[in-house]
Homo-oligomer: 312 residues x 2
């Protein structure tokens, strides 16, 4: 077996390509042969992303043939056809047949899925979900999204829309979300919304424009009452969403990644308490941090190829 | 093929046994060879239920050998071991190895699952879910529970607890549920709780003790403002629960059965509107009434045997 696997991560702020051979790896200690990364420029678009990624892939392969190419994409993806419907970050990605374009370029099987589904597979195969049969991966970052592994396999839903825990409603009298509903998990628990709520409480001071979810967590740790209240409200809302998902689907494990999960024990304790209070006493599960960090989409892209039996 | 399949329904108020041969049926027009039913007496217990059902089964078989026996049980069931953990209605059912007991009696393969999971399989195979790949069945009755079919197969969760939509929280500032939480779907949408809320608004009048969910629906249809408000609040709460489930799992279809679903267009319209408002615009699904009626658990028990390849 002489596999040569290429992984692409079309992320929110950067484009990353990485190369690996599973046949040369020690299980649980996989490493990359090589990684290339380019930060997205201001005013970038789909055309730039595509040309850059193809160039990074070609540099890594240096004339060799890839066995298969796995792709993580930060946006809406139609998995069956390999079409990107929309990017969450970059203009010009409307209805782009990325799978067909990359297949023509690399003459290899290509699989593309959205970043949450891919991260779920990556954490299941290489990360915090190893040895578990069913899990939900949740990213809590600029948005709140998720992906499922059920019976060891990805569950994408009837039309690829499963995992949208960020837009489950946990408080119909809560604040208004951009999606038009009140009290969505994302409206309460995502970084930018927590920062917005905190900044609004500060009035017209200088902190208002610069605040991020990280600032809110840091201010909460320093004892700022408003920051603490907003952070805990977000953690509890996420916990209700997780408890509801546990009651509905009864997975073994929830794996949480994304910037907001770095908010410390105050946040984690509130998420766990709220989730277990929401779930029925007979519904057992654990909530653990993701372990793959920034490489999650890349390893997830490799796990996607493994799930499809494309690794040679 | 000379299959002879026995179906048992351990329901809340009655015990039913039925016999069929799939090999003699026209697809979509299955009928029973024979059905026996006994209403549960006051003060009945697990011992009575068990002896009665074995007697009904033996009468139907009249000395013939059953190919397999499928069982629907109204309570908590451990599917892997075929053990009843708890009945929702009848005392004495704590940790009873029903599968082993019935196997000894009928010398045939036995499969047992809870009524919601079984009804989901029945509606998928023989009822409103025919031709669909993924659905959630929800019963809205004295309680609110559910069961999943994903990729054409039952999804029971890691420990058989999936489908508990009744105890998902949709309004944390809502009324207190027996489960200890506020604003569960069941607390807002089940028949007895709606009846209780309506009766409490009537004060100490005579209607208070006798009210059922059906009464609330009838009073709402007659224009009673309190009944209408309570019925619509329940319908909307169920709709939020369904919309949340759609965002999380993205099934094609929700099939609704149980007494409360007979509350008329006012109720159905509110459920559908609330569910579609809660789901993201890209998350499509239909909400339809169950079509198997009182026979759903029995046909579901047959579908369970088919799913396990036990029908001969």
């Amino acid at each position: 077996m002489d596999d040569l696997l290429l992984a692409f991560d079309f992320g929110g702020t950067k484009l990353t390509a990485a190369l690996t051979r599973l046949s040369h790896s020690v299980p649980g200690q996989q490493g990359w042969l090589d990684v290339r990364r380019v930060f997205s420029p201001e005013g970038g678009d789909a055309q730039f992303d595509m040309e850059t990624m193809i160039k990074l892939g070609a540099e890594l392969l240096a004339g060799r043939q890839a066995t298969a190419v796995g792709v993580s994409f930060g946006g809406l993806v139609d998995y069956e056809t390999g079409t990107v419907r929309l990017s969450h970050h970059v203009p010009g990605w409307e209805n782009i047949p990325l799978q067909a374009l990359l297949a023509a370029e690399f003459s290899a099987p290509i699989r593309i899925d959205n970043d949450a589904n891919v991260a779920a597979l990556g954490e299941h195969r290489f990360g915090a979900g190893q040895g578990h049969d069913s899990l939900m991966y949740i990213t809590v970052s600029t948005g709140v999204g998720g992906g499922w592994v059920l019976s060891g396999k990805p569950w994408r839903g009837h039309a690829g829309m499963a995992g949208e825990i960020g837009h489950t409603v946990v408080d119909p009298s809560g604040p208004l979300c951009l999606c038009g509903k009140r009290g969505c998990v994302e409206r309460l628990a995502s970084g930018p919304y927590m920062a917005q709520d905190w900044a609004e409480e500060q009035g017209s001071g200088g902190a208002r424009e610069l605040a991020t979810g990280k600032d809110v967590a840091e201010m909460a740790a320093k004892g700022d009452e408003a920051a603490r209240r907003i952070l805990l409200r977000g953690a509890r809302a996420l916990g209700v969403g997780i408890g509801n998902a546990a009651n509905l689907i009864n997975p073994q494990l929830f794996v949480l990644g994304g910037g907001v999960t770095k908010s410390g024990d105050l946040w984690w304790d509130a998420v766990r308490q709220s989730a277990h209070e929401t779930a029925l006493p007979e519904v057992h599960f654990e909530i653990v941090p993701a372990s793959l960090g920034d490489d999650a989409p890349l390893w997830g892209a490799i796990a996607l190829l493994m799930a499809e039996g494309l690794t040679g």
